[in-house]
């Protein structure tokens, strides 16, 4: 699918469980290197669950379990020998609600490098400046790096979180609905930032907003829900991947009838 044929992440027959409950069934998907891939789909379709399985964030939820293969440049991420801590450094994450630490702007960005053992003041200064510049926040905060990260506006907080993520130099950045808590102007700033970041990083973004997927992404994966009546009137629901294609193609000529109904806004 990609021009250069390089994939950063591969999912093969991935099932994700929360305890006994199947959340996502049989996802097979390759994520193109240094492109933006958007995950779209109705609420409860498991797109965030898939996203969080890529940097093993699901490990933190008791009872969560991943079957199948998740690979990063061919390396099995759920191999016993792989440390989730290492995975999360290489595959960074930006969350739905901006979540800066209750510390200064400087300490927020320096947190990751410090975890990895960078102690020198000069190096940290350089990393902080470079990261904040890369996230288009420098001009707004450069005189006030001692100020608490919590004191910034929502959009600034989210860009601070992006700066914090790129400070540890990951290869992939996962974004879980990063603009859903932001106003349109802040959203636009983040979208422009993403287009710049993709020159260096592979980005996966979960979004509820189809226009946003069309505006920023190179590829789009559409997820949906399947239901099954169980005995006793209970209902079993799980998510699955319906279609994955170039964003342009997926929105202009969907292969699947369900995709077409979703992008026309018939359900969601």
């Amino acid at each position: 699918m990609t021009q250069n044929g390089a994939y950063a992440i591969g999912l093969k027959n991935v099932n994700i469980f929360y305890g006994e409950k199947l959340a996502v069934k049989d996802v097979t998907l390759s994520i193109a290197n240094q492109k933006i891939t958007a995950f779209i789909g109705p609420s409860g379709c498991g797109k965030s669950t898939v996203l969080r399985s890529i940097n093993r964030m699901n490990d933190l939820i008791p009872g969560a379990r991943v079957e199948g293969e998740v690979t990063f440049h061919g390396q099995q991420l759920y191999d016993e020998k792989v440390d989730a801590v290492e995975v999360r450094r290489r595959i960074g994450m930006v969350f739905q609600k901006p979540n800066p630490f209750p510390k200064s702007i400087y300490d927020n960005v320096a947190y990751g490098p410090r975890l990895l053992g960078v102690r020198s003041k000069n190096k940290l200064d350089e990393i902080v400046e470079r990261s904040i510049k890369s996230s288009y926040l420098w001009d707004e905060v450069k005189t006030d790096l001692k100020k608490s990260g919590m004191a910034l506006s929502g959009g600034q907080q989210q860009r601070l979180c992006i700066a914090r993520t790129i400070a540890v130099e990951p290869e992939v950045i996962l974004m879980d609905e990063p603009c859903s808590a932001l106003d349109p102007i802040a959203t636009q700033a983040i979208e422009e930032l993403m287009k710049d970041l993709v020159k260096t990083y592979t980005i996966i973004i979960v979004t509820h907003n189809m226009q946003q997927a069309q505006r920023v992404s190179d590829y789009t994966a559409f997820y949906s829900i399947r239901k099954e009546e169980e005995t006793g009137g209970k209902e079993k629901r799980w998510g699955l991947l319906v279609e994955h294609n170039h964003t342009e193609k997926l929105f202009s000529a969907p292969q699947n009838e369900e995709t077409e109904r979703y992008i026309r806004g018939e359900f969601g």
Binding site: M93, N99, P100, Y111, L115, C161
Partner: protein
């Protein structure tokens, strides 16, 4: 067809609804007033006892003993000279009670080198017994070995012999002053009649005494501070550690749930049972470490007592830390420990400190465990380390209130005020600490 009431029904119904609301509001107000009254009654009771007129009489007027009546201006020699003059027969008793290191039954028969081992004894007396010494030599032993302060106290109680013959409570002192004074002048014509605040500087710095007018809380106050310090040093790290384990590491297994439930139950166990536990473990079984009924035993017992409270509060504080912060930290490649140490603990610290303050307040007022593990009820030496024998404020208060002389009730009230002030100071400093943590978190 509507099910809603018509206008008339609605109006009547509305009146009833408002009425019900105001009845409840009155009830809640009443509850507050009852609580307030209870508090006022407590304060009234304490302050009523702690201040008031007294009739005080000297056996010997200090003005005849020392210039300006200031006993403490005299040197050690002068003080022992007074003891020798007015209480000649009690000199050996002073030596026995304050200096002897042997059992009272052997005091008169053993040589002084043994009786006063470790004290300064002139060489020519080393082989003699106390009976062989002239009274002046016995007095010299006191002058060289006792502190100036101890001697001043002996002279004050046994020579000056200030005795408070009667004391009046604050209410009668304020509202029936003339009547009180008339009674005092008539009953005790030679006594000094004056308004006394039982809580005063001397009361804070004097050690315990069998004479209410001379007794102070210094020993008990220091004992309480030592106990609370040992308690916190022991219980805070262990309590927070256990909370971190239960909250952050332990899985939701059956065993862990049983442990958690039991920790909660332990917080409700009566304190006297902790006293029995402390007696068995710290005083008896671990005697080689704690040296028996010492501050260390008391501190560790109190530590056990407040451990469950600290654990529960710390667990709640840790649980209240938002998951977003944990996820942000893990998302940057932090290990579990790095996340706990750098993010979770600082965010939970204000809550943990609040829990610890509450636990400390409970511990400082606890009496039952101290009685069980055997805090001394009468002790005049300051504690000088974790292995000292000790007394504590609540014990001292308890002991004073059970004495027959009514004046002890007055100093018990004064000691209660000291205890309350210590409590408030501890709370205030801990609240200050908590606010500083909060401010640091919010930048």
């Amino acid at each position: 067809m509507t099910y809603m009431p018509n206008d008339q029904q609605f109006e009547r119904g509305l009146r009833m609804r408002h009425l019900r609301g105001s009845v409840w509001q009155r009830f809640f107000m009443l509850s507050t007033i009852v609580a307030l009254l209870a508090l006022l009654a407590l304060f009234y009771n304490v302050f009523d006892q702690a201040f008031g007129y007294v009739a005080e009489q000297y056996q010997i007027d200090p003005a005849t003993l020392a210039p300006d009546g200031d006993i403490s201006a005299l040197e050690n020699d002068g003080l022992t000279a007074l003891l020798l003059e007015y209480q000649p027969r009690k000199i050996p008793v002073y030596v026995r009670d304050n200096l002897s290191v042997v059992d009272a039954s052997q005091f008169t028969t053993l040589p002084l080198s043994q009786v006063l081992a470790g004290k300064t004894v002139p060489e020519e007396f080393a082989d003699k017994t106390i009976r062989d010494l002239a009274p002046q030599d016995q007095a010299n032993l006191l002058a060289t070995n006792l502190s100036h302060e101890q001697l001043v106290q002996l002279v004050t109680t046994d020579v000056v012999g200030a005795e408070i013959l009667e004391s009046w409570d604050l209410t009668s002192s304020l509202f029936r002053r003339a009547e009180v004074e008339a009674t005092a002048r008539e009953k005790y014509p030679n006594a000094k009649f004056y308004f006394r605040s039982w809580i005063n500087f001397d009361f804070l710095v004097n050690p315990g005494s069998s004479v209410p007018g001379a007794a102070g809380v210094r020993t008990a106050l220091l004992g309480s501070l030592w106990v609370i310090a040992i308690t916190v040093i022991f219980a805070f790290p262990i309590g927070v550690g256990a909370a971190i384990y239960l909250e952050e590491y332990a899985t939701r297994s059956r065993i862990n749930q049983i442990i958690e439930t039991n920790v909660r139950n332990l917080a409700g166990v009566p304190s006297i049972i902790y006293g029995l536990l402390g007696l068995a473990i710290f005083v008896r079984a671990l005697q080689f470490v704690t040296d028996g009924r010492t501050l260390l035993s008391a501190g560790l017992t109190m530590g056990l007592l407040i451990l469950p409270v600290i654990i529960i509060n710390a667990q709640e504080a840790l649980r209240a830390v938002s998951n977003a912060i944990r996820e942000a930290s893990y998302g940057l490649g932090a290990t579990k420990w790095q996340t706990i140490w750098n993010q979770v603990l600082p965010a939970a610290m204000p809550g943990i400190l609040t829990g610890t303050i509450l636990a400390m307040s409970r511990a400082i007022g606890e009496t039952a465990p101290l009685i069980v593990i055997g805090a001394s009820t009468f002790i005049v030496f300051d504690p000088n380390g974790p292995l000292s024998k000790f007394t504590a404020l609540p014990i001292q208060i308890y002991q004073w209130t059970s004495r027959p002389q009514p004046q002890f009730r007055d100093i018990a009230a004064a000691a209660i005020i000291v205890l309350l002030v210590v409590l408030l100071l501890l709370n205030a400093s801990a609240i200050y600490l908590r606010q500083r943590f909060k401010r640091k978190l919010q930048g």
